[in-house]
Symmetry: C2
Subunit: 150 residues, 2 copies
Amino acid sequence: MLLSKSCVYGLRASLYLAGHQSENYIPIRQMSDKLEISFHFLTKILQQLTSAGILESYKGPNGGVRLIRSGEDVTLMEVVLAIDGDYMLTQCALGLPGCGVMKPCPIHEKWAETRDKIRDMLESTTLTELAKKGKDLDLRITAEGGFEDL
Amino acid sequence: MLLSKSCVYGLRASLYLAGHQSENYIPIRQMSDKLEISFHFLTKILQQLTSAGILESYKGPNGGVRLIRSGEDVTLMEVVLAIDGDYMLTQCALGLPGCGVMKPCPIHEKWAETRDKIRDMLESTTLTELAKKGKDLDLRITAEGGFEDL
DNA sequence: AGGTTTTAAGACTCTTTAATCTTAATATAA
DNA sequence: TTATATTAAGATTAAAGAGTCTTAAAACCT
Ligand code: SF4
Ligand code: SF4
């Protein structure tokens, strides 16, 4: 799979937060319920996003987690990098050790092109953009329901 | 990772075979040595390609494995499908259960575009094409060496 | 102060993928 | 026919990824 499951969860949670443009912290429990993701697992993933400087967290009652910057300024790429690292964008098709332009494998040329498409997509798409689209069209964010159920 | 390790090994072995346009069977041991892949593991992967109708095998002395059709007629897609299935091309970014155009997630539109690029690349690239390029430019196929060492 | 709500951190378990090891089956050749 | 070379198949082990559980720390509230 292109993105690890952790990363997908991280993206969905980030979209959730971007869909709640509130100054309040959102409890992880609420997100894990709505998004149907294991609470403890999600907690760990959000910790990664917190230490990556994408989220900030607060303990205790009325605590939770929220985006530091506005969702308009956060690209999918940032979230992916924080969770999966740049493996996908540097390693690739044949994944030979230390490969690259210097001594490429035969797929390199074609693959690099494809890979750049993925990078461009991740870099040019923001959380807010997707959350807005999700709300306007009531698109899916959970297994069953859409943004309206959030 | 986009492709599983098994799949990458399968691709490299297929390229190896395409680079040896010989009517003889090539022993798996020879390939596993040259490509630095565990013999038994590679054997299993090639069995998948054999039962998928991409390779044919022969036992005993002078036995081994070879492409059924010419490498010109075999696309990367065939190899990928035989080993990893179509998961990568149907599932994707958020990977919600049963997702798709009917009730898409907010990334769907952008992702589908990217995904088609990957599909096109895999479908339009043949083993022979890459093997030829690999030979002409002595590109990498193993960790250390290039096609010349095959 | 003491109890409650929440995130943080780490140990632990389960599942999947990767890799190894053993035995069987098939073909060749001397 | 016996020894050897090779793929086929299945059991086993190892490593990584995913998920759960427990305890700690921080913040709030009465
Ligand atoms: S040479 Fe390029 S395409 Fe090939 S494995 Fe390395 S980065 Fe990927
Ligand atoms: S809706 Fe489309 S982009 Fe979203 S997870 Fe499903 S297939 Fe992927």
